[in-house]
Amino acid sequence: MILLRLFWEFFKTGLFAVGGGMATLPFLYDMSTRTGWFTQAKLADMIAVSESTPGPIGVNMATYVGFETAGIPGAVTATLGLICPSIIIILIIARVLKQFRENKTVDAAFYGLRPCSVALIAAAGMLVAKITFLNPEALTTGNGIAGYAGLFRWKAIALAAVLLVATRRIKPLKKLHPIVFIAASAVIGILFSF
């Protein structure tokens, strides 16, 4: 039964996630809250592994979630679920490629879909950021001002600032593959016991 549900959940993801790998993130986030198959913290770890291993991110994440949920059969099922809608849709479009590219209604739909996709990824990113940078437990301990300071994970915020500058402002670093920053972060995490 779990395999059938996995297939269905990833079929939906493959059908509605428009705009590449990261576009699957909001669907995985939604899946985690609805099914409880994996936690949101685990989801962030899975993104990291998917970014730093060969293969398209969307496929890697599906395989990972599937494996976490139901072992190797789960990994295969989730991946097949994800690619099924693509195969069907592309096989249909491949016959009418030219008309599809020039169709005004398709183009108009994408005018609306593109901002939607970015907003969904941004919103899912916010939720990953919440568990990364905040300590919600700090508020319930009732330590007053000290409690509020404890709300933030300061080490994480400092690292984010460094990474933002490195990935956006420093020319020789900007071009590096994300795997470099992920590996560097892992080392920093161990050295400064995050």
Partner: protein
Amino acid sequence: MKLLSLFLSFAKVGVMTFGGGYAMIPILEREIVDRQGWASSEELMDYYAVGQCTPGVIAVNTATFIGYKVGGIAGGIIATLGVVFPSLVIITLIAGILTNFADIPAVKSAFSAVRVCVCVLIFNSVLKLWKGAVKDKGALVLFLLVFVLSVFFDISPVVFVLLCAASGIVLTRMGVRGK
């Protein structure tokens, strides 16, 4: 024979692609255009552009396109299975290993910091996508509506996708687009 070489070629593309998206273009170019001659550079770009604006993972969509061109429906399916095959093997191995080491304090520390990096990477890809997606007021309104509603309410992304595709058509018909 053709199906086997489709599978192997796309498995190779899958192994050599890190991250997907644009990172895949030079690798596809070398394997599909130069080595196998299955498509021209222009065709590849066309497939890529359509693959980007149809649902699903871009790498998978592009593989299905080229596979279909080379070997019909069976080719489309085989090429797609080829491109996901390395992910299945590699991720399953890593996930299996990580599950056994997840409780070690050093591993926990490493992943807490890696999560920070993931946030920064998501932020960067949002900025990049934003440039191509939000070019006028109509698109900005859609962005803000979807962002606020999905942060504060528990609504399935499917609902947003369907509503925004419809809004795109309506806004374009109304002549709001480009203003």
